[in-house]
Subunit: 107 residues, 2 copies
Amino acid sequence: MNKYEELSKIFKTLCEPIRLQILDILSCDEMCACKILEGLLISQSTLSHHMKVLINSGLVTSRKDATWIYYSINRENIEKLHVSIEELTSQKDNCICQKTDNNCKKA
Amino acid sequence: MNKYEELSKIFKTLCEPIRLQILDILSCDEMCACKILEGLLISQSTLSHHMKVLINSGLVTSRKDATWIYYSINRENIEKLHVSIEELTSQKDNCICQKTDNNCKKA
DNA sequence: TATAAACATTTACGCTTGTCAATATTTATA
DNA sequence: TATAAATATTGACAAGCGTAAATGTTTATA
């Protein structure tokens, strides 16, 4: 998997409104799935699916306590996302664009 | 459209590896579509489709010159994206999470 | 041990979207 | 005006994914 595919995996996670809402709900503190579900209009199985996607992306972590699972934002990986976006879009040496001869007639 | 749907529109744009590669190609300078295409393994019509998606998201702008169209990154909206991610994931007053009574038994 | 609560998994369905071939449009130039 | 280059659009198809009902698993407790 190249770097674009790696990064796109994070964005695929973020491209569903309901998952953004879940991150918002988790922005202040950890919360168990049953409480997250209370604020949403989706089924329990659908929430479970979305939490799995969030966990797999690395944007959210979980801990188990008895029958509850507490989810929280992985702030380290949120910061890594900021860095990745910056690295992708900012001017840089040895850029991929320099591998193309840019002799297209310019204005 | 609520704020989650608005933001998800940006992430939907970024969730395709080929569009991330296009942003990378544009990271140093503007480039016309025919030159962008040289560095990719997709058809012309597919590139045209992706450029339209990038334009519609606001992440890329374009200017026309004769038969060429030059595309460039809209850095102002990249910065807005950083702010949106920060606003979503950081702790804040009047957070959506406080609207749920968090009386779930904690460890 | 039986029951209930919390969460995960399986299965099926429908919608979205990436892809390309074919064609259309626009502009420069011979 | 005819041709070629650059880009957009249309149409069709396949793959990915969000969704929920039904069911399974784990844990606490009566």
